[in-house]
Symmetry: C2
Subunit: 163 residues, 2 copies
DNA sequence: TATCAATAGTTGAGATGTTAAGCAAAAGCC
DNA sequence: GGCTTTTGCTTAACATCTCAACTATTGATA
């Protein structure tokens, strides 16, 4: 029998779960599109960002594509091997790795541009122009009120067991 | 240099990326809360669902918690080992595995209930009551128009009445 | 009864998410 | 210059995601 003591908000109206379900629905057609290319959804995002803004270092690429730097390191390694992107050390700052689109990456983008556009417009149509924009605004507001609101970095020096 | 041929929507207004960023912001305080417990965010969701609805089989648990059945199999295995949940074969259908909360799971829930409630209310406050509800409605609508274009799958009559 | 299809759950493999630790280059300071 | 701190990226370890293949049970069928 469910616990009645404090009544947490229902998981049916839980933001974490709702965000996961929504992402699942949004990604379904994109994954279907990518199935024929051998790309993962993350690799596709990397190409999309580089296509929009041009070559950039790993840090910015991670930020723009919504990926963690540690994940991106591995993703880029695979993509370099597959001829999708290029990677070279920056001349002005040898710490930075500048990532750019390689020929095969351009091919994949060209071949899937129309399909991707159709998927985006279909989604926009289903939700409605107004709700679509409102949703993006709300998600952006949500992201803003998170980690970057201020310092307040809670440092708990614990590390209890659980190896 | 960016490709100009068709102009895909900007990644700055991309739903997949926006959803990931929003989830990141929402999960940050929850992860901080869970850091002291040794639970992952998925394990916490499992406990939350079982706490709200009581024992259930793996399929429904996966649906309610927004997890894939294959992931849940492994998550439950770990949680059984850690004494967080129980697992027993259903008497009426031996294919089904019924999952319930174990004593240690109840403990974790009790110990973190207040903190979880505070996090949820803080988020609600930051976004504002109206936007918070609107966001949940929009995310639900998005999830509905995804894999099953069926529509009308809504169980609750609260859909989009108000402005 | 034997058989086939559907369902519930599990497992395997490869890729990503998450955290912590590590290294090299750059920036700041004496 | 020599020293310390910060920054950018990488690696390691473990958990999860995703897809595909698999087992076991159930239900339908002849």
């Amino acid at each position: 029998m469910p616990n009645e003591r404090v009544a947490l908000p229902s998981t049916r109206r839980s933001l974490p779960i709702a965000l996961i379900r929504a992402r699942e629905a949004v990604m379904a057609p994109i994954r279907e599109m990518l199935a024929g290319t051998g790309l993962t959804e993350q690799q596709w995002r990397v190409l999309r960002v580089l296509d929009e803004f041009g070559p950039m270092d790993v840090s910015r690429l991670a930020r723009e594509a919504g990926l963690m730097a540690s994940s991106l390191t591995r993703i880029v390694q695979t993509m370099v091997t597959d001829g999708l992107v290029t990677r070279e050390t920056s001349a002005s700052d040898r710490r930075r790795q500048v990532i750019g689109i390689a020929s095969k990456g351009q091919e994949v983008l060209s071949e899937n541009r129309d399909a991707a556009l159709a998927i985006a417009e279909d989604l926009r149509g289903r939700l409605g122009e107004r709700d679509f924009e409102r949703l993006l605004d709300l998600l952006e507001a949500l992201a803003e009120c998170g980690p970057r609101s201020n310092g307040s970095r809670n440092v708990e020096p614990n590390s209890s067991g659980r190896g």
